[in-house]
């Protein structure tokens, strides 16, 4: 077990190295002169030359990479070309908003998705199963940006139940301490603001959760059906155990094990979906930031955002794999 954990952690380094390499080459994949592309056609020759110097584009490639890595290890992600602000600073400011939304989306998606899957499997071919699986199929096939717009139209524009955008009412003054709106409002002791923040969070996180909810419901259902046909479940039945006990104590645990591995992979979908969701809901997180940077050709920001997302993704997946090793007593990792 310990060897497995160590091996997995050691195996992380080549992947992290590869991530930095790909991210490094990303802006060098720009056709033509990256500095010229970033500054636009009307930039003066001096400005372009200065930016080339600043980005180190005049150096040989390996020197550029070492400089890039050296800065990276010091937590320096460069400067925004448009705003001239420190990318690391902006990132720290933006990240909590995204984490807050992704976390809630994950919570909603996992809890509702697996519940639908389990109930559908137990009550196979019932109305619940049929409706659940048809919705899951529609959910997989639906563009989330479209769903977001339809929900905004239905619930925010027409019915005015939920706010269409933002993290909190603009009139509210919030002390920024952690950057997590729900935490900050609680720390201020302002219950009204907390509820308002929660209210703003509902639509974006529900929309984002639909990225993972349908696939999770389908996978859970399949795993659960598989487990319910196993011999030990029949044994449990023949012992006269109640169906509730069989499902909750015997089947569920084993059915959810393969589901755990899927959850880590789904985070990738959430991080990609966050760009779309944040853009639509004017959510001041990493997604909107990245999107604006893409439109403005502000590549250091694009670079930083891809790098950070990939790193988070890799670490979460490692955590999930290790959790799986702990949870599943049958598998011996050596």
């Amino acid at each position: 077990m310990t060897t497995y954990i160590i091996r997995r952690i050691v195996g992380l380094f080549p992947v992290l190295f590869g991530i930095t390499l790909l991210v490094f080459f990303l802006i060098r994949m720009i056709p033509g002169d990256p500095a010229l592309v970033m500054l636009g056609e009307r930039a003066s020759v001096e400005d372009v030359e200065q930016l080339r110097e600043q980005l180190g584009l005049n150096e040989p490639l390996y020197v550029q990479y070492f400089t890039f890595m050296g800065q990276l290890l010091q937590g320096n992600l460069g400067k925004s070309i448009i705003h001239h602000t420190d990318v690391t600073f902006d990132l720290k400011y933006r990240l909590p908003a995204t984490i807050e939304m992704v976390l809630w989306a994950m919570l909603l998606g996992v809890s509702i998705g697996t519940t639908i899957g389990v109930v559908s499997a137990v009550k196979r071919n019932s109305i619940f199963d049929i409706v659940g699986m048809i919705s899951a199929l529609l959910g997989v096939s639906m563009p989330i940006f479209w769903l977001a717009l339809i929900l905004i139209y239905a619930l925010a524009v027409n019915a005015k139940i939920l706010p269409p955008s933002g993290r909190i009412d603009v009139a509210m003054m919030i002390d920024r301490r952690t950057g997590f709106m729900l935490l900050d409002t609680l720390l201020m002791g302002d219950l009204f603001a907390f509820v308002d923040a929660l209210w703003h969070l509902i639509l974006p996180s529900v929309v984002l959760s639909t990225v993972i909810m349908p696939p999770l419901a389908r996978i859970t259902r399949a795993c659960m059906l598989d487990v319910l046909h196993q011999d030990y479940v029949r044994t449990a039945r023949s012992k006269g155990l109640r169906e509730r006990v069989i499902v909750l104590k015997h089947a569920l645990k084993n059915a959810l094990l393969p589901v755990v591995t899927v959850i880590g992979g789904q985070l990738g979908g959430l991080l990609g979906g966050a760009i779309l969701t944040e853009t639509i809901f004017s959510w001041p997180g990493m997604g909107t930031w990245t999107y604006q940077a893409i439109l403005g050709r502000d590549y250091p920001i694009v670079q930083a955002s891809v790098l950070v997302s990939a790193t988070i993704y890799v670490f979460v997946n490692l955590a999930v794999d290790l959790l799986y090793a702990v949870l599943d007593p049958r598998v011996h990792y050596t």
Partner: protein, 302 residues
């Protein structure tokens, strides 16, 4: 007497199996596809969309630039324009019909490229093992470490907007999935006796890979590719929505939705209908893929 009857029955029974036309795996799959309701719906929906994509330029030649009619901008659905008109007074139904070929070709070309490249890498990696395998799979691991949508967006952002770069980006992020799938198929096949036999009689590696291993790993590749087309169409629509995909005036469904966003409050039909088109198309491929998966499952062979 009794004995001859038993023999007779036995002979008849054998005859009926033997005289039956031999069924291949694909023949079996086709039979099962026709009996499954979901697979049938999937086949019908994809067929309609494929026909729409092929026939629309022939039946109704269309030049998006020349279709504007500003007097009729943003009209809600009516008898004349069943899906209403857009910002420039263009008929939305007509644009959706002509957008089918765009979405479909992105989906098919991107998945085809990713599928072929991934399959080649997976075959080579799995069959040769050793250092080749090690290097290829580590590169695939690195690509898989990026959230695919984000990587696709970043690639298009760097390479420049447009349909061609959309296809490149979506193909690129799709490769590692196929490489892994094919490699795991090869690893199980490689150890089987018929491969060993082929090697013993001196069949060369490329022939073994192409003639023996590839055909046996084809069905999961096809299932994944079919499901992948739906995913690729969704990604392309998302890129189009962000303004990174096909550029106006191309009737790309994702960009049609983003066209409607500023007017969501007054004329939601501009957002609604293109989204329905995306959903229906992706749904068709997903149903077809699910149906194929069930039908090609060798454990269900009759």
């Amino acid at each position: 007497m009794l004995d001859t009857t038993a023999k007779e029955i036995n002979r008849l029974a054998q005859d009926s199996v033997l005289s039956r036309k031999p069924r291949s795996l694909w023949g079996d799959a086709w039979r099962r596809m026709r009996y499954s309701i979901t697979a049938r719906i999937g086949m019908v929906v994809t067929l309609i969309i494929v026909l729409t994509a092929i026939l629309s330029p022939i039946v109704d030649p269309y030049e998006p630039k020349l279709d504007a009619d500003l007097d009729n901008a943003r009209q809600p659905p009516s008898a004349e324009h069943i899906f209403g008109t857009d910002r420039l007074g263009r008929d939305i139904f007509r644009r959706i019909v002509h957008g089918a070929s765009l979405s479909l070709s992105v989906g098919i070309v991107a998945v085809g490229t990713a599928g072929i490249a991934g399959t080649i890498l997976g075959l080579v990696s799995g069959y040769f093992g050793g250092w080749t395998d090690m290097i290829i799979m580590r590169i695939m691991d690195i690509l898989l470490a990026f959230p695919s949508m984000l990587l696709a967006i970043a690639i298009v952002a760097v390479r420049g907007n447009g349909l061609f770069n959309t296809i490149i980006a979506i193909s690129f992020v799709g490769i590692p999935g196929y490489a892994r799938l094919v490699r795991s198929m090869v690893l199980t096949l490689r150890e089987q006796d018929f491969i060993l036999a082929a090697r013993m009689v001196g069949v060369r590696a490329p022939i073994i890979i192409l003639r023996h291993i590839l055909p046996n790993s084809l069905s999961p590749i096809i299932v994944n590719a079919t499901l992948g087309i739906g995913g690729a169409i969704l990604s392309a629509a998302a890129l189009g929505f962000l303004g990174l995909g096909a550029q106006p005036p191309a009737p790309e469904w994702g960009s049609m939705i983003s066209d409607g966003v500023p007017f969501l409050r007054q004329t939601p039909h501009m957002v609604f209908f293109p989204g329905m088109a995306i959903m229906l198309t992706v749904l068709g491929f997903n149903l077809l893929g699910d149906g194929l998966r069930d039908a090609l499952d060798p454990q269900m062979r009759e």
